[in-house]
């Protein structure tokens, strides 16, 4: 206990990561009926957590080696589990991202969620999420990480299904939980195999393991792929993509925090956390690279057909996550982490801006919002454009720098196909982002004047907008926009920070990228290609949606089957549904249920039936007269006596 107070880093970590849990407990137990107090408690705790995280970020920068605190948690035979904190630059950075964005989102929710009947519940689950996510980030062992990983999933389930009266919301929550669970079981198995085969789940120990030669490459490949299953589930990679767009049923701040900026990035985070371990297996890296690429392209195509504001950002999240996985799998460790950082910022920004629109117009449809004069909302409109520019990789916004870094990593691969896939993805991203922006800015048929009634109705509403609640929503958005503008320029200092002292990481990174020494294309050409992929996308979008007299249909509408394919998410959902219905519900489940009823129960009941019927058949011998029975008994006894005596 003393150690906690002596060591400022430990103190900050413990305080920062435990407060949200306390706040959740307090809210759920005591202040459920006092929404105001609940939100204050939650926001205070997360602000403290963010401050602690920033302190730690600074402390880690000055330290020569990572901070590691561990304590034995349980042991069973020769299996020992330690709980603890492992603060290296990566986890300190991620902790800061999580705490700061959670903090901004919770402040934003003060406005967005105000008046909701489940206000207290909302803040309780937000706190649960913050607690689980922060503990996951700084976990010192893979199993501890997994524990909080599952709890993060739980928080996500609760928050997606927040509007539980809506069938689609509870359905989406269930879908998210079960689909990520599929990946998690793989992750779990990977952890078990690592326990059995390697015996140590400490994250730094795992990262140093390949160098020591205690485990074979085959074993690493198997373990890495199993762990990667978890990444696939959590980060919505192919083939477990479809839960993430559905997860948009949750309140928009939840989508901003969990399903774009932080929680879904957990998969990528785990990948980068044990990056040297992954990198020791070229096969695993190749599979990860392929999955990342497929995911990125599939999700980008899906984003091109939907009119739902949040859906577009959801698909784009999936595709950006795919891009991060690609980057890591191509050996671009820093590029992946950097993109995670910038993406967290601008994607949260995009969602929060969309949230303001949705809050104002009560619809998710970009065409309707545009028609009702979405562009008149200056703060969100400017900010959403900033976010979209960053997403499209336009300089000087943060997304440009990280996307260039990723393209650089892909460029180092021997096979140029990955680079082209990346460029194509960048083009698609820019196209669908600006399709959305132009829909908002230049709606089809111009802006409809609001009905007078509506105007009067929303009069009181309007005033409120310029009150505290509006600013609770606007300020976080503006902060995020500023971050998006400046973060890119911090690339080099961030690189220095992340790669400092990461010997294993550096080594693995160079080993994995070592395919083509000079890259497929030169450095300057790459920058030009990257920018132009984005610009071409924007120009195409302008041509179709922005300019005067544009058809506003998109080129895809000339190919209805393709449109339908993209719109139906490549029929992935249909496949899962079909699988679940035929193989599970009407297959195994009904067979087994019938087996239980007919064969097992039927058999037992049959035995009982025969016993009973037999009894009835033989009951004719029973007269019910006591004395006849006695007489028979006496006779038999007499006969037996005779038999034995004679």
């Amino acid at each position: 206990m003393d150690a906690i107070f002596k060591d400022p880093v430990l103190l900050a970590t413990v305080v920062g990561t435990s407060l949200p849990f306390l706040s959740m407990a307090v809210i759920l137990i005591f202040t459920r009926h006092n929404p105001m107090l609940s939100s204050r408690i939650s926001v205070t705790s997360i602000v403290v957590a963010a401050v602690c995280a920033l302190l730690n970020l600074a402390k880690v920068a000055g330290a020569s080696h990572p901070f590691r605190f561990e304590t034995a948690w349980m042991s069973s035979g020769n299996f020992h589990l330690t709980f603890g904190y492992y603060l290296d630059p990566l986890s300190a950075l991620m902790l800061t991202i999580v705490a700061v964005i959670a903090c901004l989102v919770q402040i934003y929710s003060l406005g967005y969620m105000s008046g909701d009947p489940g206000y207290s519940r909302y803040y309780a689950f937000q706190s649960l999420f913050a607690w689980a996510m922060m503990n996951m980030v700084i976990a010192s062992t893979l199993l501890q990480l997994f524990i909080f990983w599952e709890l993060v999933g739980l928080a996500s389930y609760m928050l997606i299904g927040f509007y539980y009266e809506k069938f689609s919301a509870s359905q989406a929550g269930k879908k998210a939980f079960v689909m990520t669970r599929v990946g998690d079981v793989g992750f779990f198995l990977g952890i078990i195999i690592l326990t059995l085969g390697f015996g140590n789940l400490g994250i730094p120990d795992l990262n140093n393991a390949p160098g020591t030669g205690t485990i074979t490459t085959g074993f690493i490949t198997m373990a890495a792929l199993l762990v990667f299953c978890g990444v696939v589930g959590k980060s919505a990679q192919f083939p477990l993509i479809t839960w993430l767009p559905d997860a948009m049923e949750g309140p928009t701040p939840v989508s901003a925090l969990l399903h774009s900026a932080t929680m879904v990035a957990a998969g990528v985070y785990v990948f980068s956390r044990i990056f040297p371990f992954f990198a020791a297996s070229p096969n695993a890296m190749l599979i990860a690279l392929a999955i990342g690429t497929v995911t990125m392209l599939l999700a980008s195509t899906m984003a091109m057909t939907t009119y739902d504001l949040k859906q577009v950002w959801a698909y784009s999240t999936v595709s950006q996550l795919g891009m991060m996985v690609m980057s890591l799998a191509a050996g671009g460790y820093f590029a992946g982490v950097f993109h995670l950082t910038t993406h967290a910022g601008f994607k949260a920004l995009l969602f929060l801006c969309s949230g303001i629109f949705i809050h104002e117009y009560h619809t998710n449809d970009m065409r309707v919002i545009g028609k009702q004069g979405g562009r008149k909302q200056l703060v969100p409109m400017i900010c959403i454009t900033v976010g979209a520019l960053a997403l499209s990789g336009v300089p000087p916004f943060s997304g440009f720098f990280s996307k260039e870094a990723i393209l650089g990593a892909l460029n180092a691969q021997a096979n140029p196909i990955w680079l082209f896939a990346g460029l194509f993805g960048a083009f698609l991203t820019a196209y669908y982002s600006f399709r959305l922006i132009f829909h908002l800015l230049f709606p089809k048929g111009g802006i409809e004047e609001k009905h007078a009634v509506h105007e009067m109705d929303s009069h009181g509403h309007k005033e409120e907008h310029h009150g505290g609640l509006f600013w609770a929503m606007a300020v976080p958005v503006m902060i995020l926009a500023c971050v998006t503008v400046v973060l890119g320029f911090a690339e080099h200092s961030l690189q220095g920070y992340i790669m400092a002292g990461g010997g294993a990481v550096k080594h693995a990174s160079t080993a994995a990228t070592g395919g083509a020494a000079h890259g497929v294309v030169g450095h300057e050409l790459l920058v030009i290609l990257g920018i132009s992929a984005g610009l071409v996308g924007i120009i195409l979008a302008w041509f179709e949606y922005g300019r005067k007299g544009a058809s506003r249909n998109g080129f895809l509408s000339y190919f209805p089957p393709v449109w339908k394919l993209f719109d139906a998410r490549w029929y992935m959902d249909a496949f899962f549904r079909w699988f679940l219905d035929t193989a599970i519900y009407s297959g195994l489940t009904s067979i087994f249920t019938r087996n239980d009823r007919r064969i097992i129960d039927g058999g037992i009941d049959g035995i009982c039936f025969f016993t009973e019927t037999g009894g009835r058949l033989f009951s004719f011998m029973q007269s019910g007269m006591l004395q006849y029975n006695l007489l028979i008994m006496v006779l038999v006894a007499g006969l037996a006596m005779l038999f034995f005596i004679v």
């Binding site: 009835r616 009951s619 029973q622 007269s623 019910g624 007269m625 006591l626 004395q627 006695l630 006496v634």
Partner: protein
């Protein structure tokens, strides 16, 4: 005349009377009395063997005493059953108690 056989014959006679009584009487109380007779026959047997064959250990007497206790308990339980039966069917005729026929 005071030999073992006399006692044995008497006890067998008692036992047989009891047995016939149990089998023939339709009245439950009669049956119960007959059972007591059978028990007394057995008792007499024990006493006789004890007296004539092994006078030293008084095992026979002990068993006879035990049987008397048992008979008392039996009478108590039997009578209470009969009472319960009477309450239920207002008769103590054994022919009426044929529920187990099913």
């Amino acid at each position: 005349m005071n030999s073992l056989n006399t006692y044995l014959i008497i006890s067998a006679f008692l036992f047989s009377i009891g047995l016939v009584g149990v089998l023939q009487r339709r009245n439950l109380i009669g049956m119960l009395i007959s059972v007591e007779l059978m028990l007394n026959g057995a008792n007499l047997n024990f006493m006789a063997f004890n007296r004539f064959l092994t006078p030293e250990p008084v095992v026979g007497q002990i068993i006879a005493l035990a049987i008397m206790g048992l008979a008392a308990a039996e009478a108590a339980i039997g009578l209470s059953i009969i009472l319960a039966l009477y309450r239920k069917m207002h008769s103590i005729n054994i022919e009426q108690a044929q529920r187990l026929k099913g």
